[in-house]
């Protein structure tokens, strides 16, 4: 049949894509091609940064040179006796990442549970949704100290208190995205399973959950970066000893003596969020079958 010929050509191209051995020229060239836009943006940013310094005569105190920011990573801490600044920052970033991850998992589960609850009980959605939305309009900066101090005084480990702040930011997008996903099934898709006399559990695992996954991952990507913000904000109240948030605070305090350090700290904080985002994308690729990604 004619349509089958066209389809089989497409299928062949898909098979070829799958069976390509990893290190070959086509893949390498493809990677290089993908890197071009990224490198271009970096070059443009660099030019804008250094150009505006020159053009508007901005002092090094206000806007350090890009080179100085990079160079500060290689400075030894503790007056030359400690590890490199980059090592110290990455250690702190790792601590923040741990807290963010804890909050991400906790907030993700909470959001998932709320979405399940709301999807099944309309009354609960009507009653609780305003508070869920309201919770996100309260500035996190005001909530964080209360949570951290409050939970710590109740004897909870500090990292848990911080993770709760991160979870506070992450449960919301997950609730909204998952709820939307759980409602994304067409009536006929449910009718189909009904006609097989499927039970509620089967309807959930064979239809509702897989149909919701793309929505879930979209919201997890937002949640991933939000959890890093939450973790950093939770490190700001006095008493924290490590975390990239602490590094940022310290660098801000000593800004006058070493401006590039603050920029470097912010750069590392951004890196944490980026890595987390990348992890979610990786998980998405592992869970959602490759054949579904039609645009690639």
């Amino acid at each position: 049949m004619r349509e089958e010929v066209a389809i089989s050509a497409e299928r062949r191209s898909i098979r070829r894509r799958v069976r390509v051995p990893f290190p070959n020229w086509a893949t390498l060239i493809n990677y290089a091609r993908r890197a071009i836009p990224l490198l271009t943006v970096i070059a443009v940013l660099f030019t804008l940064w250094e150009g505006s310094k020159r053009l508007f005569d901005i002092s090094d105190q206000k806007l350090p040179h890009v080179g100085d920011i990079i160079a500060v990573f290689a400075v030894r801490t503790q007056g030359g006796a400690g590890p490199l600044l980059i090592v110290q920052m990455l250690n702190n970033a790792w601590a923040t990442f741990g807290v963010a991850f804890g909050g991400f998992v906790f907030g993700g589960l909470l959001g998932f549970a709320l979405a399940l609850l709301f999807a099944n009980v309309r009354l609960l959605e009507r009653g609780l949704m305003p508070y869920v939305i309201g919770s996100q309009t309260v500035p996190i900066l005001a909530i964080a100290p209360m949570v951290v101090v409050g939970l710590s005084s109740m004897g909870a480990p500090v990292w848990i208190a911080k993770a709760v702040v991160a979870a506070y930011l992450t449960f919301f997008p997950v609730t909204i995205g998952m709820l939307r996903g759980l409602r994304a099934t067409a009536p006929t898709e449910v009718d189909l399973l009904r006609s097989y006399a499927a039970n509620t559990r089967q309807v959930f695992f064979k239809l509702r959950l897989p149909a919701a996954l793309p929505y879930l991952f979209a919201s997890l990507k937002i949640a991933a970066t939000a959890s890093v913000i939450g973790a950093i904000v939770a490190e700001l109240p006095a008493g924290s000893t490590h975390g990239i948030g602490v590094v940022i605070i310290n660098a801000a305090q000593y800004y006058n003596s070493r401006p590039p350090a603050l920029f470097a700290a912010v750069l590392v904080a951004g890196l944490v969020g980026l890595c987390f985002y990348g992890l979610v994308i990786l998980a998405e690729r592992l869970i959602i079958p490759a054949g579904l990604r039609r645009e690639e």
Binding site: M1, E3, E4, I7, S8, E10, R11, I14, A186, T188, E189, D191, L192, L193, R194, S195, Y196, A197, A198, Q202, K206, L207, P210, A211, L213, I288, P289, G291, L292, R294
Partner: protein
């Protein structure tokens, strides 16, 4: 006539609401085992509703439906129905084979049995090579064939088809009709088919009886017996009797 496999007795369906709609009023119909019934009529005549009532996807407001001597609900729980909708309703995260296996998974068939049946069904609808493709990689006609394979996979005794070829172009449509008759003949176990359509030629070509329905309120106007010999093929479409019957159905539709 042998005992009816499906009997619809003075069934009404009323959708209450701000403007109450009487989708069906006093509909009665007896369907024999292994019969191919076409439901035809303009939109709003309740033909899909009647199909959904028989399949227990909705409940009648009054009247009674018996399927194989049981309530429609019991028949649904006994997995007597295979349903094909107007759109293929394939789960896009499943491969073609896994879509055909879906009812078998729900019904607890063993793994190797599932694969065996899915392969056989895909072979039957001419898609033997496409088991590992995803639905989006297939054309509309091929997708609908997958949904037919899925409906047949667990060997249901009653096939409910709601305008299954409605979205296809005329050429594909005619080919699918012939294929459906072939498959129906091949299964050989006397599957009863209720086929909803708004195409007169489709209804006449496929069925043993065409049930002509009219709207507001939805009701059965006339039942036209189709005495075209089987197996039917391209020569059936060109026979004078085919055109006579089409005219007959068209006139019943016009009289309402």
């Amino acid at each position: 006539m042998t005992a009816a496999v499906i009997s619809v007795d003075r069934v009404s369906k009323i959708y209450a609401g701000s403007n109450t709609v009487t989708a069906l009023r006093d509909v009665s119909l007896e369907i024999a085992p292994g019969e191919f019934i076409a439901l035809i009529g303009p939109s709003g005549c309740g033909k899909s509703t009647l199909m959904r009532l028989i399949g227990d996807l909705e409940q009648p407001s009054s009247g009674a439906i018996r399927v194989k001597g049981k309530s429609p609900r019991q028949s649904r729980l006994d997995r007597d129905y295979g349903i094909v909708f107007q759109s293929p309703v394939l789960y896009e995260w499943r491969t073609v084979r896994k879509n055909v296996e879906l009812p078998l998974e729900v019904m607890g068939f063993a793994g190797h049995d599932r694969q065996e049946r899915a392969r056989a069904m895909l072979q039957l609808v001419g898609l033997g090579d496409f088991g590992e493709a995803y639905p989006w990689q297939l054309s509309g006609g091929m997708q609908q064939r997958v949904s037919i394979a899925r409906a047949l996979a667990f060997n249901p005794s009653i096939l409910l088809m709601d305008e299954p070829f409605g979205a296809l172009d005329e050429m594909t449509r005619e080919r699918m009709q012939s294929e459906l008759l072939n498959i129906w003949g091949d299964t050989g176990t006397g599957t009863t088919i209720i086929f909803v359509t708004h195409s007169i030629s489709e209804a006449v070509f496929l069925s043993d009886r065409v049930v002509v329905m009219s709207p507001r309120p939805g009701r059965i106007d006339r039942v036209v017996p189709i005495d075209l010999p089987r197996p039917r093929d391209i020569t059936t479409r060109e026979s004078p009797r085919f055109f006579e019957l089409i005219t007959q159905v068209r006139e019943s539709l016009r009289e309402m």
